[in-house]
Amino acid sequence: MASPSDIDIDYVANLARIALTDTEKEIFSRQLGDVLRYIEKLSAVDVSHVEPTAHAFPISNVWAEDTPQPGLPVEAALRNAPAQRDDMIVVPVVVE
């Protein structure tokens, strides 16, 4: 298992798209370090012959027939939008 010192808070915060202040980075690094050290105990469990469980009660082939149902009227779809124009949601452009 990875060592807790591996946590690169800048890298992870960038993946998570959350701007953290220096204070937050410092606090979170310490707190998450504690949690990761605690979590590390899992490496003691022998799971070499164990199948993973994604759901406690797995079923398969859960689907619906391809029959269209009414969706949201455009007003309802956009009611919570922070900015909209011409029935579309407005965002600043992506700059990569």
């Binding site: 082939n61 269209p68 455009v74 407005v90 992506v94």
Partner: protein, 488 residues
């Protein structure tokens, strides 16, 4: 130094379904913005996905048609990345358990000429999986406007092995793949509507080398000919870079089909970290033998298999099959006409030449065309039986096409039946000989072609109704007779 290119294609095909991949709001194109959404499409808090049964049937069908191995169990994974067109900021896709693995796409390379069949290759596939499409960003200066109508449309990702060696092969691969998709009713593959989209990974290496060169990803190749041109351009660009002593950088480039140039989208390729993990909102898919058997029963014959059968069963020439086989409906049309006329080659000729010409000229879809296989068969039979001449048939074709009147009925109504009345023919032939003394002399002097002028005279006199075979016989008989010239 000679170079060879190594090309792999990643093709996204929108699956034709009535509702979206993970929710039942209608899928569609060209609707007014944000009218095809619901809580799931917009990723509203609390919304959950439910698979579309038809989309699954369709990918199983594609897998069976292309000879893929269908996974007995597969699952859904989340591909996590942020982008404004992606409502959940993850895409539901398949990561390490795609539903289809392996398989091949048979392609035909251009032959030495249009009339000669080219070489066939089988391009191996890595995998095919299902996922969901994103919304559409419309850029307006410093802002983007988002329409989520497309978001959530079922999307099939078809990944080829890096087995293509030229832009021509890539073009042939996409053409073949598209034909298979349309044959199977999987997708209409209209590139203008974004139903088929292609990215290419291109690298070069010295011919004969086994190591792979640094690959460049070409994005947004949004027509089949842009795929060919873009790849050809990229191969040339890479060779030029290497020959001038440079090195290829791993990057993503955008090819502009209008200007025929490409530019780097991301020069410094930042490694993506998609944090794939199994989607806990969805249960696995298990495809059993019964399911496969049901789908297999509905799989059409593949285009190139059909072509080979048309050679063997109908003795069609390559040129005709090359026109017919890309269009499954046209093939069915042909086979119906061929069977009911008993003259496959003649039927094939009429369809490949005259019918397609008229459909194109009138911008009519085959399904809407009033001329049905029975019309073609009727026409073929009339010509074969000598009831009308080929010329007459050609002349009336357009009218039959436009009105949908049965050929037999039209021939009767217009009195187009060929004349086989020997007395009438004899008169016309006599007149022809009298009016063409020079031709008569030439013919008698051994110029075989000279008879054509007399035949033409008869056809003109008879308004085309004279049976050409009888005219030929009568003319020759008259010209052989010693008194023929002096009777008048």
């Amino acid at each position: 130094m000679p170079y060879e290119a190594v090309i792999g294609l990643e093709v996204h095909v929108q699956v034709k379904t009535r509702s979206k991949m993970f929710t039942r709001v209608a899928a569609g194109y060209g609707e007014s913005p944000n009218t095809l959404t619901d809580p799931v499409v917009l990723a509203l808090p609390g919304a959950l996905p439910v698979m579309n049964k038809t989309a699954l049937d369709r990918i199983v069908k594609v897998g069976l048609m292309l000879g893929c191995e269908i996974a007995p169990v597969c699952k859904w994974d989340r591909k996590n990345y942020f982008y404004p067109d992606s409502p959940k900021n993850y895409q539901i896709s398949q990561y390490d358990q795609p539903i289809c693995q392996g398989g091949t796409v048979e392609i035909e390379l251009p032959g030495p000429s249009r009339n000669i069949m080219g070489e066939h290759l089988r391009i191996p596939l890595t995998r095919i999986h299902l996922e969901e499409d994103v919304g559409k960003l419309n850029h307006a200066g410093r802002e983007s406007l988002i329409d989520f109508n497309r978001a959530g449309t079922p999307l099939m990702e078809i990944v080829s092995e890096a087995a293509l060696r030229s832009a021509e092969e890539a073009f042939a691969y996409l053409t073949a793949l598209r034909t298979v998709m349309v044959y199977g009713g999987i997708s209409d593959c209209d590139m203008e509507k974004g139903q088929l989209r292609c990215d290419a990974n291109v690298s070069i290496r010295p011919a004969g080398a086994t190591e792979l060169g640094t690959k460049v990803e070409l994005k947004n190749l949004n027509s089949i000919s842009f795929v060919r041109d873009g790849i050809a351009h990229e191969i040339k660009r890479q060779i030029a870079v290497v020959e001038s002593g440079g090195t290829i950088v791993q990057e993503t480039r955008d090819y502009d089909g209008q200007t025929g140039t490409s530019q780097s989208l991301r020069s410094k390729e930042m490694a993506h970290d998609y944090r794939y993990f199994p989607d806990p909102d969805l249960m696995p898919v298990k495809v059993d033998e019964e399911w496969k058997a049901r789908i297999r029963a509905g799989c059409p014959e593949l285009p190139f298999d059909k072509q080979r059968r048309f050679f063997a069963e109908y003795q069609l020439p390559y040129t005709i099959t090359a026109v017919l086989t890309p269009d499954r409906d046209l093939c069915d049309y042909f086979e119906e006409a061929a069977k009911s006329s008993g003259q496959p080659q003649a039927a094939g000729n009429w369809i490949a030449n005259d019918l397609l010409r008229e459909l194109a000229a009138g911008k009519v879809a085959l399904a809407d065309c009033k001329m049905r296989p029975a019309h073609i068969a009727g026409l073929v039979r009339l010509v074969e039986a000598g009831v009308i001449s080929n010329n007459i048939a050609k002349e009336v074709f357009v009218e039959l096409f436009q009105t949908g009147e049965m050929p037999e009925a039209m021939v009767g109504r217009k009195g187009l039946k060929q004349s086989t009345d020997v007395g009438e023919l004899d008169q016309w032939c006599g007149a022809a000989i009298a009016a063409n003394p020079k031709s008569v002399t030439d013919f008698k002097a051994g110029k075989e072609n000279a008879i054509n002028a007399m035949k033409g005279f008869v056809m003109k006199q008879s308004k085309g109704k004279a049976n050409p075979r009888l005219v030929d016989e009568i003319l020759r008989a008259k010209l052989r007779a010693p008194s023929a010239g002096r009777m008048q």
